[in-house]
């Protein structure tokens, strides 16, 4: 019974941690736009958390540049267990126009398992919100799996 309650509330209160691995800030402002009154992600209980320790969903924007590669890996390790990685925008999914640049260390796939990817070069806030909703289901599964 208690686990059922925790699973439901895990889905209902996803805390977002936004990580910028070299993005052009297009998707970053879209993420923050999702929290503004017009789109209001807080309806789903979303809250922008300050540290990876508080995070449930990690929003990663930007092609993983060489410099931010090991910081990305270190931060992802510091997130407590049931967490979901969400690649926002085309850059993390496939390094977009920066594909073979000398300073880009390849798509996010290489460094962690991406659960949800939202594409769009500067994806729409609605797409991000839909991604978060999809992520919450995945969170629920992960939480159930964790309990077994």
């Amino acid at each position: 019974m208690f686990n059922k309650l925790i699973e439901n509330s895990t889905a209902k209160s996803p805390w977002l941690y936004h990580m910028n691995t070299g993005s052009c800030n297009g998707c970053d402002i879209e993420i923050v736009a999702a929290l503004t009154p017009h789109f209001d992600a807080e309806r789903f209980g979303c809250k922008l958390a300050g540290t990876p320790r508080h995070a449930d969903i990690i929003l990663i924007t930007g092609p993983v540049t060489e410099q931010s590669k090991d910081r990305l890996i270190r931060t992802l390790e510091q997130v407590p267990e049931p967490y979901v990685v969400m690649a926002v925008g085309s850059c993390p999914n496939s390094c977009n126009v920066f594909k073979d640049s000398y300073s880009v260390a390849g798509p996010l796939e290489k460094y962690c398992h991406v659960d949800v990817s939202v594409s769009g070069c500067a994806c729409k806030p609605e797409a991000i919100m839909l991604g978060v909703v999809k992520a919450t289901e995945i969170l629920k599964e992960k939480r159930r799996a964790m309990k077994k």
Binding site: N3, L5, I6, E7, N8, S9, T10, K12, S13, P37, D40, E42, R43, F44, G45, L48, A49, G50, T51, R53, H54, D56, Q78, P80, E81, P82, R143
Partner: protein, 312 residues
């Protein structure tokens, strides 16, 4: 038998469960009101419950630099001490425990959660927590002065330092808020409550943008859930204290009805002193916060103290 009653009092009615549920509900109301004031839809009313149970389910990572016992014990002691504070505050004219000078006991019991947050943050050993601690402590130093002045002003007006006597006084000659000399004190206490509860314009200790959640930077899972509960309970306890001090005179004979009325008043107060500043103002710098409390709010409180002193 007396121990059993006392145990029930601590754990159920005015104690842990009541304050926790009430606090989380008030926090929910607060978040909805802030959203409404920004023309947003805002989370459902029970969102704080979801947050709390989600955090209970998450894994607790105890960092290497942390001191394990202090790290785990701090949140629990904070929550328990808030539960005990609620015993002293007369809800609807009846308080579980009452003795002489329990205004001062309440004042000091309210510092324990702040100290627990500080010790917890310092025990987690992160540099962000260090900055959070120094801000939390300066904030505490700043809002303590006006809070003390308000309590002494009310005590002077009533003639004794015990909350029970204050409520009895208000039964006879009307709520304290309607005595015009007490209005500055009421305003001062309304401005102190967000500072003490750590609500947006004054939440320098847990500023998520500047110092990554300050003192709670290294907390995750169950202890963090306890601290969220602590934050919610503190809002409830403070607003209940305000109602006891300034609106104690409302009495409808039936105690449960009184408690409901008190809760409604607390809801209105939460809107007035927690959601309104949150929706309007940006976060203060630490020395501006200190100057704000020691000049404007302390001035208001001193005004009503002096008025009370000349018997008005």
């Amino acid at each position: 038998m007396e121990i059993l009653i006392a145990l029930v009092r601590i754990l159920i009615y005015p104690g842990l469960l009541f304050v926790a549920v009430g606090g989380l509900l008030l926090a929910g109301i607060d978040r909805i009101l802030v959203a409404k004031m920004q023309r947003r839809v805002g989370p459902p009313l029970v969102q704080p419950f979801y947050d709390f149970f989600k955090l209970m389910g998450k894994e607790t990572i105890i960092p290497h630099h942390a001191n394990r016992t202090a790290y785990l014990a701090a949140p629990v002691i904070a929550v328990v001490s808030l539960a005990v504070t609620m015993l002293f505050i007369p809800l609807g004219g009846f308080s579980a425990v009452s003795g002489t000078a329990d205004l001062i006991v309440v004042l000091y019991l309210l510092t324990i959660p702040a100290v627990c947050v500080i010790v917890g943050g310092s025990a987690s050993g992160s540099p962000y927590a260090g900055v959070g601690i120094s801000r939390e402590m300066v904030a505490m130093m700043s809002y303590e002065l006006p809070l003390v002045m308000v309590l002494l002003a009310v005590a002077k007006k009533v003639g004794s330092l015990s909350l029970q006597a204050i409520v009895a006084y208000q039964f006879q000659n009307g709520c304290m808020l309607f005595h015009w000399s007490m209005i500055p004190a009421a305003i001062a206490l309304l401005l102190v409550i967000p500072g003490e509860a750590g609500v947006q314009p004054f939440d320098l200790a847990e500023a998520e943008t500047e110092i990554c959640e300050g003192t709670l930077a290294e907390y995750s899972g169950a202890p963090l859930g306890m601290f969220e509960l602590n934050h919610a309970m503190k809002i409830f306890v403070l607003t209940a204290l305000f109602t006891a001090l300034f609106l104690g005179g409302i009495d409808t004979g039936i105690v449960p009805l009184n408690v409901v009325i008190t809760f409604v008043i607390c809801g209105v107060l939460v809107w007035l002193c927690c959601s309104l500043p949150h929706a309007i103002c940006a976060r203060l710098r630490i020395e501006r916060l200190f100057k704000f409390y020691w000049t404007i709010v302390a001035g208001l409180a001193a005004l009503s103290l002096v008025l009370a002193w000349f018997g008005l």
